[in-house]
Symmetry: C2
DNA sequence: CGACCGCCTTGACCTTGGTCAAACCCACTG
DNA sequence: CAGTGGGTTTGACCAAGGTCAAGGCGGTCG
């Protein structure tokens, strides 16, 4: 974990929904307490239970948010990609400890912001409060959907849904997905063991729904895949 | 579902964390758009996907929030009890549709509030925004813990944790829990089938950890139960 | 008071996905 | 270019929890 850079990150900040209601002065306050962080593959950014003083915006790379069980099993909660923020909702938690651990899946660059500074700004900007509330509301909804798919659906459903949502919006082009994350991490994200993950992929291949070659998965039969993910 | 009452609910509102930053005028606005709702056992209050215009405070009874799968399986997300609010976070959702269904487990009385009115008040009260954000943050954390226990822990763990958290805070008195909700509903809340739920209870009984008689469960061996719920 | 109904329990069996171990496939290194 | 090691795949086996079906146990209501 490193920290030194004098690039102007204003465009990044302006593009970040959370900050888009801030005026120049407010943005400057955030910048003053901002840090650029370089973190290399495999290193931990923070751990579950640590006091949470900062939140983050991913510039480059991938950050994995996860929980560990007592026995050391890992459940990946989320994989955060460039342009996305994380841990911003912790500010308002009763205890203010990180509820998950975070580490880098690949060498990454982040911006980190002071919770305190942001809270101060929120105090003076109802608009920003509304942004943050929208953000939290959306996260709440995502978590709900996750619970839904864990309890009401099976592993194949979860995997197929994942593939479909990884698909870029422009449906017209060749529906190929290139996995940028190790399969076992995606598996954990979907609460599936690597072996099972692999087996499901081969089963889908056998059925002609997809073609797998290494990290590349071509969705051969979108309609049937979509049906699979509804029922 | 019914609506008629002229009791003064001010004490209820004052006790409600979400409203506790409101001044008298603001509270009056909420009251003006407030409705008292009587809903009898088994009736639906709203359904997943309906446009969300109101949120609720439970006065009496129990409300079950749940999701249905395509095949009709039900997963209970939460059981809401008197004094608690629900659906207040939906206001800031992109689409503003209820993300779950709600129905009454027993005859219940609720207050319902206008999302719009509340949003207007939030616009003028950063303090209230902070309350709502704290509330949402807490819910986010609870959902996370739910995902954790669904993926990192087994059915017995979930059931034991449930029993322990149902225990009133004053640990000194006789540790008896009286289930006020049908067992199959609790089972669904914990993502366990009723048969399995029952079997786990009898196993815990056999092992001398609890004594079950109908709806009453006496926790005979707190230390061992707590150990069960940690490992 | 007895019949009915909903809920809960119990038993036998099954299915999904997990476990363990071995082989495989590359990408990198020396 | 062989050697090493991480990630992935495959196979054989296993176990937790689900399914299906049959009873049991109270409540309620005629």
């Amino acid at each position: 974990m490193d920290m030194a850079d004098s690039t102007d990150f204003t465009p990044w900040l302006r593009r970040t929904y959370l900050f888009s209601a801030l005026d120049d002065a407010q943005l400057q306050v955030m910048k003053d307490a901002m840090q650029v962080i370089k973190i290399e593959e495999g290193r931990a950014l923070f751990e579950h239970g640590q006091p949470a003083e900062r939140f983050f915006l991913v510039l480059e790379g991938q950050i994995k948010l996860y929980r560990l069980s007592e026995e050391g099993d890992e459940k990946v909660i989320e994989i955060v990609r460039p342009g996305e923020t994380f841990a911003e909702a912790v500010t308002f938690m009763s205890g203010k400890f990180y509820p998950v651990s975070a580490s880098a899946l690949v060498d990454s660059r982040l911006l980190s912001f002071s919770n305190e500074a942001f809270r101060d700004i929120l105090r003076g900007s109802v608009d920003s409060c509304f942004r943050l509330m929208a953000d939290m509301s959306q996260r709440l909804h995502r978590r709900l959907n996750e619970i839904d798919s864990l309890t009401l659906h099976n592993a194949t459903y979860r995997l197929v849904s994942y593939l479909l949502q990884e698909l870029p919006d422009d449906v017209l082009e060749s529906p190929e997905i290139v996995l940028t994350t190790p399969k076992h991490v995606i598996a954990s994200r979907l609460s599936i063991k690597p072996e099972t993950f692999s087996r499901i992929l081969t089963k889908l291949s056998r059925d002609g729904l997809i073609v797998v070659r290494g990290n590349s998965i071509v969705l051969e039969d979108l309609p049937r895949l979509r049906k699979e993910a509804e029922l």
